[in-house]
Symmetry: D2
Subunit: 140 residues, 4 copies
């Protein structure tokens, strides 16, 4: 119930310390999140387009363990850590793929919002899939 | 009829070559463009919100002369280079403020579009100000 | 002992939800941090250039309270929350300047590292200033 | 002699107009360039690490034809358009993969520089591969 996705570090993502600038991991979390939803047969894009709601980030945390470097292949492992009403939490582990070094662990907490950024309900097909996924996870 | 605005190079804008990553200059052009419009007593934000149109970029060019570095104070000089119907061109000169070294020169060409990204007319108050500005410029 | 700095939201910082993309707040934290160090009469750039050390981020947290929007003027309040050997923690409050709405609160924890990304000592002039600042803060 | 690489549009790459912010195409050009070099059996990372030189961007142009949108799969076609001493020019065509709509065409011109950002010679193994590639291209 953990999905995996890969990407390659872009030159634009490095900084003058010669490593990936730390804010980029939050963007990678988002890549992991979107692909995790896709791995359930769903599509975040359609949540915004068809259902008119999105999942706004209300909290993000990242602990940086080892630096990613330019051209590294990155492995992102994503799971849903919590579902409670309109609140969702995703957890991420980011590795360098070549040697499976843990680079970063983090989480993002989201609330479902409509186009006016007001709290809304998670569309049923997402709620069902997320809960099935989460129950499977917590009963492993 | 050329406006000036300043910003400071952010760590996030550097890359592992130890200089500002080149795509960031297009973001600085945008900073110059918005402040140039503000210097005319107008407000790009209101163009999108009140008039329901925006100026989509259809072409961008940049020639990089000397690298900007972390924490440099940057001076952006912006002018309107051309107005022709729904098409606008802005020109930019980007300097390091401390020694007035030219770092980059560039231009962006825009077309006025509505929310569906279809070509639209430039709202009258912008058209008048831009033309007045441009005539003043070309008759200097 | 809290410094304040301001910036204006760039178009590039927005996303299709019509608000600032959440990863950008970590970049704004960095703007606050650098200006906070400058407000003590020091200069982060010189720490890297003269002392050959930097402060790598080992943890970042952000809680998002209200969305920032394009062209908003942003007020960043920064303070040093903790100093313990080579470990530093900064805390941030980010407001919309126009109505002083709290948009985000967060913190970043850093470790001093040399050019090989190995733990190093904080240069004396920074250690003294940071401690003086922190003691003043905690005895307020 | 044209290489192809693919990526998916990230949420972070969109702006409040609901399309990809234009500066991101320059980052995608870089993705195309790096993968193009890799397709020749070479490795840009090693040019910086082993040869101590890099290819700094001296000019970039982009013409935007149609907007990319969130979650679109993007196809980048890259070729070397010119080699003249230490100067290289790459040309790019960017398509939406699903319907092969041309989104952007552009080019970047580079000069080989050493770590002090001074002009340098292209390392022999890159020069040979790039020339072989370019001759093949121009005699097609």
């Amino acid at each position: 119930m953990t999905s995996e996705t890969r990407l390659r570090v872009r030159y634009a993502e490095t900084d003058q310390m010669g490593v990936v600038y730390h804010a980029n991991y939050l963007i990678w979390f988002e890549v992991g999140r979107v692909e995790h939803i896709r791995s359930m047969g769903l599509d975040y894009k359609s949540m915004e387009q068809l259902d008119g709601v999105g999942i706004a980030v209300v909290e993000a945390t990242a602990r940086y363990k080892s630096p990613a470097r330019y051209d590294d292949e990155i492995l992102i492992k994503t799971r849903i850590a919590q579902i409670r009403g309109s609140v969702l939490r995703f957890a991420y582990l980011i590795y360098r793929a070549s040697d499976h070094t843990l680079l970063c662990e983090g989480s993002t907490t989201h609330v479902v919002v409509d186009r006016a950024m007001k709290k809304a309900a998670l569309p049923a097909r997402f709620a069902e899939a997320f809960r099935a996924h989460h129950i499977a996870l917590t009963t492993d």
